[in-house]
């Protein structure tokens, strides 16, 4: 029995090694969102409490927001390419094959990058609409 399963485990390990990049990609967009969130809330709170130059911090955070949106956009684009829905028109990753899992990871990373994009836009809105520390 052990001998029969041996090649299977090797396959799993091989697949996992191949999909490491995909697994990393899944977390990347939410991580950018989290970092942007922490930077915005932390920096604005400290700046307003200490009386530092809010305009400079605001400008820096707006640039950071642009960079975060570009980063998430890039993750989303590569995830979209990995998810083969454009070629197949199939929204559901049914099969249990390695290829299906590969597509599914792209699918999940794409959806996560959409919600991260919305999150970053929402967190950035006060920077645009509220100028200072009021």
């Amino acid at each position: 029995m052990t001998e029969e399963h041996q090649p299977r485990r090797d396959e799993d390990q091989k697949e996992f090694a191949e999909e490491q990049a995909s697994l990393f990609k899944i977390t990347l967009a939410p991580l950018i969102w989290a970092a942007h969130f922490a930077a915005c809330y932390g920096l604005v709170a400290v700046t307003c409490a200490k009386g530092w130059d809010i305009d400079a911090v605001r400008f820096g955070l707006l640039v950071a927001s642009g960079a975060a949106l570009c980063g998430i956009g890039w993750v989303g684009l590569t995830a979209w390419r990995q998810w083969n829905v454009a070629q197949t028109g199939d929204f559901v990753n049914r099969g249990g094959r390695a290829e299906d899992r590969h597509h599914f990871l792209g699918h999940a990373a794409f959806l996560l990058s959409i919600i991260s994009l919305i999150g970053v836009v929402f967190v950035s809105l006060p920077l645009v609409l509220i100028g200072g520390c009021q």
């Binding site: 959409i114 919305i118 929402f122 809105l125 006060p126 609409l129 509220i130 009021q134």
Partner: protein, 284 residues
Amino acid sequence: MLGGAVVLWLLVNGAFYYLSRVRTGEFDQRYARHILIGGGIVLPVVVLTALLVWGLSILPDPRRPGDGLVVRVTGEQWWWRVEYWPEGADAPVLTANEIRLPVGQRTEIHLTSDKVIHSFWIPALGGKMDMFPGRETMISLLPEKSGTYRGQCAEFCGASHAWMAFAAVVMEPADFDRWLASEAADAVPPSTDAAARGERLFRSEGCGACHAVRGTENIGQVGPDLTHVGSRQTLGAGRLKVTIDDLSTWISHTDVLKPEVKMPTYDLELDQLSDLAAYLEGLK
């Protein structure tokens, strides 16, 4: 806001009813996808974005500078010490347990506290703002409609926290100016025999050690200023009405009406109580 909530409620429940009762059976994938993406992603994002933009646009309002009048409120256990500082005033007009504001003008409310943290809240006019001992916080309010609103301490501050309320009266600017002028004046002398007896009782019972009645020898600062207590809408910081009956009840049952309150219960004869109440009720 309520209209929007009703529309959304009807939309969501209408969709639920339609899809579960009217149009049952298997759906075309394309159709289902449109419903899911449109109703589950696009619509919430659009609605939430619009609400967020609107919310952010009004967020700075309570921090805007006022139009001149400053009302300084100190949270006490369990009442409100109130000072009115009209623009350019050297000294405040002192009162208690009632906030009056001119309609259509932004008034700065400067908040502090005596011993514990309280929170100043008039739900109809704006958000809450905490009051800290040794610190001053500020909220500015712009009432748009005249009327009487309820204010309430919104931070647990001890046994009688729930009984720490006040009336917030929003008045036409001219009425407000007249009211402030009369509030700044000294107390009127007692106009009836009962009130005159009550005034003597007020002195002999030592009420003036804690309460001020401006224009008399009573200058205590421990409890609320009573110079115009008869013109207020509530007694004991929102606890009772300012009637002779309620005043008598208050003086003879302070600990029942407001647990752990500093003011002792006075064990007076009924006619003495009604004399004292008549004096206080007459302090218009």
